[in-house]
Amino acid sequence: MARLTPDNVRRCRDLIGLYPQSRSALIPMLHVAQEQDGWLTPEAMEHVGEMLDITPAEVYGTASFYDMLFTTPVGRHLVSVCTNLACLLNGGVELLEHAEASLGVAAGGTTDDGEFTLEEVECIAFCGAAPCLAVNWRFFGSVTTDAFDHLVDDLRTGRLADEVPPHGTLCRVRRNVGLTAGDATATPVAAPAAGTTEGA
């Protein structure tokens, strides 16, 4: 529960540098803050506001609009079960009911040990594999009730730690270059770069 770390301040400064107007960096910076603490602490939001020269209320006003940004604590694993049409037609509601019974919390709740927050979500664009869910925005399709229980078990024991980072970690690949189009001295590289290909 703190302000941004020095490393995250640097990341945020880099983000600000990518936009013609600094406030455009607000949502990307909030993702950094959420990665740091798992949710948006008041201190981190205030720090983000200072960096952008906007008030904490303006930061909160933007953050509170968006479903992915949490201004209250969230479990380490955010389990997002879809019940929108394609999933509704393929057992998504039954999957959500099973998830509630299995985790012992209603949708919107967090388990006592802080491991899981369960939420019902709108379409997450994985409809070819309905019913589907996401854990910290890593997608799982054609989820049967048995598969759900195995998934929870794997998450609890850390067997999926590589595939599913803690809640708030959105993108594990960092942009490695600033804006360069205005740099007349830069010369393009002719050959393809090797060894930087794996996204995840």
Partner: protein
Amino acid sequence: MLTDAAAIVTARLGVPNSWTLKAYLETGGYAGLRKALSMTPEEVSAEVMTANLLGRGGAGFEVGRKWSMLAKPRPAYLVINGDESEPCTYKDHMLLEADPHQIIEGTLICAYATGAAQAFIFVRGEFALGIERITAALNEAYAYGAVGPNIFGSGFSVDVVIHPGAGAYICGEETALLESLEGKRGFPRDKPPYFPAVKGLYMQPTVVNNVESVSNLPWIVLNSGEAFKGLGQGRSTGTRIFSLSGHVRQPANFEIEMSKTTFRDLIYDPKLGGGIRHDNQLKAFIPGGASAPWFGPDHLDMGLDQDAVGKAGSMLGSGSVIVMDHTTCMVRASWRITRFFHRESCGQCTPCREGGGWLDKILHRIESGAGREADLDLLLDICDNIAPGLSWPPQKTTICVLGPSIPSSITSAIKMFRDEFLVHIKEGGCPFG
């Protein structure tokens, strides 16, 4: 009929590590950008105009015409819309994960043709793997010299920024997307005066194009607008990805030739949907996402043609076809869609914010057995307040089209399945259990 038109935007699907620069270059990647840079921006625009590429996001506006409407003041910006959120649409999600370099190449061709000062690719925040893949791809593209200063020695320079969203359906609407990109709540802007081509990002002229739309550009530049126009019929040219979902045996994304392919082909062909699960009867299908009015089996032989579907009172929209078999409760289906719009309303306009909530509650009470006889008229009356006349395309009492999209499923369900509503009300419950 199912034609043998080759895939354009999904050609690399299944290529090992298709998202890497290495795989991309081995399959002809960035040749379209090189060719575009050897042409004038006007020549590139002319090819796209000839192709008659219709926007693949939902509104279906001609891409070339959109570029030509860009107002003169500079700087101008380019924003690529990857905020795919229309229920049951999952094509851009797939393209972002499988072929991010193609999106970057298309973005650069568009930036060159329109003279954009900077390009932003707005990616739906939930697409974590997609964001990682396209971020890695952009790093590679910079190192390769395809982005940044003096691209491939052409003298053309532009930067591209990947911008993650944070979860809001409304940000797929282009003016809401621009607000969000400016670090604000995703509130749509009034049009006029805030047409993006005139007053867009930072109040500057801005082109907003969909991810699938720009993914077509490398092919169009390499093969010509005429070649693209040679596919499909009438205004519906080229191929298009259709996201098929619901009660079909093989729900998936299929890239098929527009217009010539029919809904029957898409749903029943063994190479595509493979028919209804368990050999059940088709009850209804939605031809273009949750916002679109529904069709029944009598529309199966219609081509996947933007104008034909529009004339028949619906839309191809986001290219999402949702199939419902005879076991589906249509009250429940329309309630679920309505609840979605109620939840996703940004809250600026009263007819959408309040009307959506009322419709949600009334449909819920019908489905749960507490409906009243007068509820059907009440539903239609509220719908009429949101979209006066209940015509197609809908009239608006709101800033954006989210509100006027709410009546689609309700009026369709009542028109096609009125008896089913009445059974719910008379028997005090859902006959489907």
